[in-house]
């Protein structure tokens, strides 16, 4: 019951209000004026919104795809190799290290990355020191580079999360499976492919779903590092909605963006869940 009240208060009511506001023209104070579907018609023709959706795909790659692949490899290396060869302690040390970015407040991490990626920042200094001047870049200021710089930051941020989930998943795998495979002559690549991945399938689904949703509503790193720039190259729906809410005070339009974004997220989430349940059914058969 308390859960239901909380859900109503924090999710359902604000969500319904947001939908209501999206049909109005409103400056945040005063009387909202009903405008029907005007905000949505405008949304369909708004190139900035479509650009922000396209950019979301980059964030899905950087938050859901790449970190999942990297942490699968890392988890299996730490579990199957590091822990066996060097002991559990070293494996735990690495796991904690990779998880560290998840504990840092994004705003603090953003300031650090701002220093690193600044044209006169640490990354360019290192590249210059190594004599690789040609590789130096204006990481956050060049519209062609900024999205990749943000992607790199997101990969760094996300690996720890997937890694910890995968390692806890591996802990329930019977070690004798690996031993048997090894006796049968399976190499580390084969063990990874035929044991680790199939055994971790439920975890991969969970990580895929949660990180994809996180990517669809990414806000803080964009807010801290680029404000959606340069030249809108890192604009994402959340930031665009926020911008309409608080900068242009087109609150109705901001609400329409937020509603569209929520709809997309819910649909993708349902597709994910449907694919997972179908996958499980196939396993049962």
């Amino acid at each position: 019951m308390p859960g239901l009240i909380g859900f109503l208060l924090v999710v359902a009511v604000p969500f319904a209000m947001n939908i209501g506001i999206s049909f109005t023209r409103w400056r945040g104070i005063g009387e909202p004026r009903y405008v029907g579907l005007a905000n949505y018609t405008r949304l369909l023709a708004d190139t900035a919104f479509w650009t922000s959706l396209e950019n979301t795909l980059f964030f899905v790659v950087a938050m859901a795809v790449v970190p999942t692949v990297i942490s699968l490899v890392l988890a299996s290396t730490l579990f199957d190799y590091v822990a066996n060869t060097f002991g559990q302690g070293l494996s735990s040390f690495f796991r904690a290290g990779f998880y560290l970015p998840q504990i840092l407040p994004v705003s603090a991490a953003g300031i650090l990355w701002g220093w690193i990626l600044n044209p006169h920042g640490v990354l360019n200094l290192i590249l210059g020191g190594l004599g690789m001047v040609g590789l130096q870049g204006n990481w956050l200021g060049d519209p062609g580079l900024a999205i990749y710089a943000l992607m790199a930051v997101m990969v760094w941020l996300q690996i720890g999360y997937s890694l910890v989930v995968f390692m806890s998943g591996l802990a329930r795998v019977d070690p004798s499976l690996y031993e048997a495979a090894e006796l049968d002559g399976a190499g580390s690549v084969q063990r990874f492919w035929y044991i680790t991945i199939p055994m971790l399938r439920p975890e991969i689904f969970v990580v895929g779903l949660t990180t994809t949703i996180a990517a669809l509503k990414v806000f803080a790193p964009v807010y801290v590092l680029t404000n959606g720039g340069p030249n809108f190259s890192t604009m994402v729906p959340s930031y665009y909605s926020y911008y309409q809410f608080f900068s242009t005070v087109r609150v109705g339009y901001g609400a329409a963006i937020a509603t569209a974004q929520t709809a997309i997220t819910v649909v993708l989430g349902l597709i994910f869940l449907w694919a997972q349940s179908r996958d499980e059914e196939e396993d049962m058969e």
């Binding site: 400056r27 104070i29 005063g30 600044n118 204006n138 956050l140 200021g141 060049d142 340069p230 005070v249």
Partner: protein
């Protein structure tokens, strides 16, 4: 019975004793602002509040230091609630103070303005930004805010670097460009700039203002019709030309205001084109002498009177709010602001001995005398700030043409006309 009597007496006594201070303390005066405590504004307003307390020993004063973003983004919500203070600093401009004024959330200050003699201290142009019409456009209508300081954008320079290179302060734009050529020849980027933040749009606007007249400025800021983009297109061309000549680095597209400040204060670039809010910081530089001059050849510069003291409609103690505003306008506080390196609006220049305060006050008076306050490029329409910022950044980075820049500004500006 005796005990009951005693108890009643004791209770009564307790009540009487209790009510005395409780009544006095019930008058609580709330004031908010968001200027840092160590700047000229923070110093002088703290002194004004101290003075206020001395004049009103019976009033309980509650001061809260807010941040710019808190007021900029949630100001209207706060003013619309019962939590609003009695007086607060509010960001000037159509999209901010104008918005809340037009929604009826602010108290008109016309009466105290005359009754308390503020009209003798502040000229009509000094309160232009405090007036908002029913659509929230500044310049006319009731008076909703009072500013007690000014600000403007000028060129800060490293006097040591200039004198070492045998240069004097340039009088014209060609002289300024010739000086910059000499620095470029030595491998020095002359202008410290930040295009991932507010500074670059001030340089862009200075260049636009070099091709503007009073009518253009008034039409542009007053949202009087579709945008005439010619000065902006010129500014973008000139800016790209300056990037090509090496006066401004393309790297600035990845830098913020703090990067620009450190570029200038570390002596890497001899010029920084920015506002008087940095005067105190630059005046404190120990490694070289920093001073400032008005952008050569321009009548107009980005500049205005400062942020506003506003009194919420729902304020409980409006008279106390007027008392406080009156104190900030008093000669004592105004001179203190100047001597802390700030730019008071009504100080006696003869009383200002602080070198930074003296030069900013002198230049500001010159700018006001030539009717050269050009306001800011982001004011006319809510949300224009981001459009101008991203556009200027793209111009410097070379990803859009000057013509595209003009079109982009026009699209956002004209959308704000209705």
């Amino acid at each position: 019975m005796k005990t009951a009597m005693k108890l009643a007496l004791a209770l009564l006594a307790g009540l009487t004793v209790g009510t005395g201070p409780a009544l006095a303390a019930s008058k609580t005066f709330k004031v908010w602002w968001y200027e840092p405590a160590d700047g000229a504004l923070g110093i002088s307003w703290a002194a004004a509040l101290k003075e206020f307390k001395q004049q009103h020993p019976d009033v309980n004063v509650e001061f809260e230091l807010k941040t710019f973003n808190q007021i900029n983004q949630a100001g209207s919500l706060i003013l619309n609630s019962s939590e609003a203070p009695d007086v607060l600093e509010y960001n000037k401009g159509n999209g901010t103070a104008g918005l809340v004024a037009s929604e009826g959330l602010l108290q008109s200050l016309d009466k105290p303005f005359h009754d308390r003699g503020w009209d003798k201290i502040l000229s009509p142009s000094a309160v232009e930004l405090g007036r908002y019409d029913q659509n929230g456009i500044f310049g006319s209508g009731p008076l909703y805010g009072i500013s007690d300081y000014g600000e403007f954008v000028s060129v800060f320079y490293n006097a040591d670097m200039l004198s070492k290179a045998g240069m004097t302060v340039p009088k014209t734009l060609p002289e300024f460009e010739a000086d910059m050529d000499k620095f470029v020849a030595k491998g020095i980027t002359p202008i410290a700039e930040a295009a991932n933040d507010y500074p670059a749009q001030h340089l862009m606007y200075l260049l636009a203002l070099s091709k503007a007249d009073a009518k253009w400025v008034s039409d542009f800021e007053g949202l009087k019709g579709p945008l005439d983009t010619k000065p902006f297109v010129y500014a973008a061309q000139k800016l790209q030309d300056w990037v090509k000549k090496g006066y401004v680095s393309k790297d600035s597209t990845g830098m913020n205001a703090n990067d620009m400040i450190s570029q200038f204060t570390s002596g890497k670039s001899p010029f920084a084109i920015t506002g008087t809010w940095l005067s105190t910081a630059f005046g404190n530089i120990k490694t070289f002498h920093a001073s400032q001059f008005l952008f050569p050849g321009n009548r107009f510069a980005p500049g205005s009177t400062g942020n506003l003291w506003v009194v919420p409609k729902s304020a409980k103690h409006k008279d106390l709010a007027y008392d406080f505003i009156g104190i900030t306008l008093s000669p004592k506080i105004q001179n203190l602001m100047g001597n802390s390196g700030g730019l008071p609006i009504a100080a006696d220049p003869a009383k200002i001995t602080n070198p930074v305060g003296k030069i900013t006050t002198t230049l500001f008076n010159k700018l006001v005398a030539q009717k050269g306050l050009g306001f800011y490029p982001d004011w006319p329409v809510a949300g224009f700030y981001n459009v101008v910022l991203q556009g200027t950044q793209a111009v410097i980075g070379g990803s859009i043409t000057p013509k595209q820049f003009g079109e982009r500004l026009k699209q956002a500006y004209d959308a704000g006309l209705n």
